[in-house]
Structure formats: C-alpha cells, structure tokens
Symmetry: C2
Subunit: 213 residues, 2 copies
DNA sequence: GTGCTTGTTGTACAAGTGTATAATAAGGAA
DNA sequence: TTCCTTATTATACACTTGTACAACAAGCAC
C-alpha cells in the first residue's frame, strides 16, 4: 500500500494559466518588476521554467494577463460596492469612493502590478488596448453616476469631463497613498473625495456646464 | 602637424555624473525600465561600462539621481511659471496649471522616468526619502496659493486638504494623458483643472472648510 | 619638462536571463 | 488494461547582466 505520489500534477490549461497569473502577481508584489522573471514566477508556482513558456509568450505577456485578471477583479469589487448601495446615484458614488480607499483596492501590492503594467503601455500596442478598455469601463461607470445626479438635481454638467476629473483625482489619491502612506491618511483621501461629491451635488463645477465643442 | 586626438576626455566628477544622468533619462525614455542597464547607459553616453560603476553604485542609484535631477528641473519650470505670472494667487495657480499640461512637463519621456522611479520607492528607503521631498515641495507651493486665495476672498478652507486633492487631480490627469493621449486631450485637462479653480474661487469645497481634527 | 592623481578603459567572470529542445509521464479515452 | 495526447520536466545554449580588476592616460601641480 505504498502509494507512489505523482511527481507533478496535470492541470487544465486555463487552470494552470490562472495559477501562473497569481504567481506573477505575488512576484511583482514581492520583488517588483525587475525581480519578476520567468524563472521567478516558475519558482513561485512550484513549476519548471519551461512550463511558463509553454503557456505564455514571455514575461510581458504574463504581466498583461495579470493586469487583465486583477483589473477585472477590481472592477468587480467596485461594481459590487455600487450595486449593493442604495438605489440613489449619490449614495452609489459615495460607495464607490469608500471601496476605492480600502483593501483590497488600496493595496501596495496592487500598485506594484499597475506600475509594471503602465511601463509596458508605451511599447506594446496590445497592452495599450487592454489599458484603454479597463479605463474606459472605469470612467463610464462614474460618468453615468455623475450624469444621473445632475439629472436628478436638474442642473447641467458635462458629465464626461467631470468624470474625467474625478477619476484623475481618485487615481492620484490612490497612487500617492499606495506609494507613501505616511504623508496623508486614507481618511484624508475619503474627505477630499466626498467633498468633491458634496460640491457636485451642490451644483458646483458650473464651468463644466457647457458641452465642450 | 598630425594632431593626435586623445582617446577619451577627462571630466570633472560632477560633469561626468550629469552626463550619465542625462544618458539614463534618454535610455528610460527609449527603452523603458527593463532596457535601461549599466551597459545601455554607458553606450548612450559613449563611455565604457566600468565608468558607470565608478561614479554610481549601480543602475538603481543612477535612476534615483536621474529622478532627483529631472525632478528639480520640473520644479524649476513650474516655479518659473508661478513667479512670472501676475502678482495674484489665482493667476499664479492658473499659470501653474498651464505649465503642467504642456511640454516639457507633459511628456511621455518624463513619465517613463517617473514610472521606473516609483517602482523603486517601495524597496529603497533612500528613494522614498527623495520622493517624499519632491512631493512635499510640490504640494507646499500649491497649498500656499490655495490659502492665499481663501484669505483674499475671505472664506475658510483647509488649504492642506484642498491642495492634496488638487495635486492628486493634476497628477492623475498628467499620468493618464501621458499614458494614452487619445482618450482625452490636454485641452480637456486644462478645462477640468481651471474649473476646479473656478469652483475654489467661488467658495466651493465648503466641506473642507473645517480644519481636520 | 616630470610626476602624481584619478578619471577612464578593456577585459574577464559568475550569475541570471529568455528560449528551444528532447525526454518524460499524467490522466483521460477506448 | 493499452494507447495517445499533451502538460510538464530537465537540460542546454546563447546572450545580457552587474561587478571587479589591472592597465592606461589625461590633465593638473610643480
């Protein structure tokens, strides 16, 4: 009854790919972009280096897949926060803010993934495409909420521009908070973001009322 | 009269360091973080690889020096925009905005430097220190202008928080514009940033009036 | 001129990189 | 069971990387 345990286990391609993607995320978090190589990922996944090449074109391809995967997770978390909030555009916008500034969104490890992905955007058209899609979805959701608030409160605003600015502010706060949590706290970021909504609700940003030409 | 030209020229250490720093900036812009090695920098500077090691501890040290150098340049450009603007806080703030969204500040090459520096912040305490200093200076200038506007217009605001939010928005717009200039234009970024100032001048962001506890 | 300091080169080496390859074996199908 | 597909391993190769080192020479002091 000496069960000979197999030297390795076979996985379905998509299962193995997901495991490799998760290993890549851990490597980026632990070693950064420079320390994330095919071999490092393979070691993290307890797998031979050759297997990585069998499933992905290279380390860049793997990072793109990781961004795609993690990006979808984040979008789902933020989406869930909006969906479970009361049926009111302002409440949903505030729920979005709350979800943005707590884990797992507010997370240094996540920034590490984002940074190495951003550094690929310029050189790789495929990467650029994924980045564009994720950000477009991200902005569309906020733009819809802003437009709905304006409609309910009966004032005009260029929701597209307003959402662009709001997205940038959230992004900037998130980035700087992940980079260096000592300069200001997440409570500060929350106050700033909520104050922006206060101002929007009060009919602020009148300068953005006219549709851009 | 066959002038034997010297095989190489000797530079003062600080001169050579600056040349290497500029070569590093070019490498980061052209090849990205992954393609910026001691050898690549040396080649770009028409210098032997060994010389880089003679002046800098390694490639990371060089990137930090590059960030420090370029960061000071940018601070100077933005500072000059503020200083040459009319003696009015609002005008100065708007001049700051204008300078932020045109070259050489709005520049993909600059983002490449910033990205590779950000990716070092987490791991290296020295890098963290430089980053902290540059951002503190950056925010202090904006905070001063915001406070002056509030004083002149006789309303209360937490200038610290307001400047934090404004900085984040400028950062976010700048980042996304450098990453992908096709989604929105610099004119959009300008409108958004100026609208924020409009709102500030009109006494917006009243939610930030109370000093944080 | 002469000598000295040190910026600079060229080379060498060990370690790490991506990738290709043949050999292996896990696990489902028949 | 037997066969077959292919996920997986192990190894090898050519290349790049950071770093160390001795030799060299530019340019200043004298």
């Amino acid at each position: 009854m000496t069960a000979v345990e197999p030297r390795f286990t076979r996985d379905q391609p998509d299962v193995r790919r997901r495991k490799l993607i998760e290993a890549t995320a851990h490597c980026l978090a632990e070693f950064g972009h420079a320390g994330t190589s095919v071999r490092a990922v393979a070691a993290k996944a307890n797998v031979s280096p050759g297997l990585v090449a069998h499933h992905f074109k290279g380390i860049d391809d793997l990072i793109v897949a990781t961004y795609d995967h993690v990006g979808a997770q984040i979008a789902e978390i933020l989406g869930a926060a909006v969906d479970t909030a009361p049926d009111d555009a302002e409440a949903k916008l505030r729920a979005f803010i709350e979800a943005s500034f707590k884990p797992p969104v507010l997370d240094r490890d996540l920034l590490a993934i984002w940074l190495s992905f951003w550094s690929l955007v310029r050189r790789d058209p495929g990467v650029r495409k994924v980045h564009k899609k994720i950000y477009a979805d991200y902005r569309r959701r906020l733009e819809g909420l802003v437009a709905e608030i304006a409609r309910a409160r009966r004032f005009k605003i260029d929701a597209h521009l307003a959402a662009l600015g709001f997205t940038a502010m959230l992004d900037g706060l998130w980035l700087e908070l992940c980079l260096d949590p000592t300069t200001f706290a997440r409570e500060d970021a929350l106050r700033i973001a909520h104050a922006w909504v206060d101002d929007l609700v009060a009919g602020g940003f009148r300068a953005l009322a006219v549709k851009r030409t």
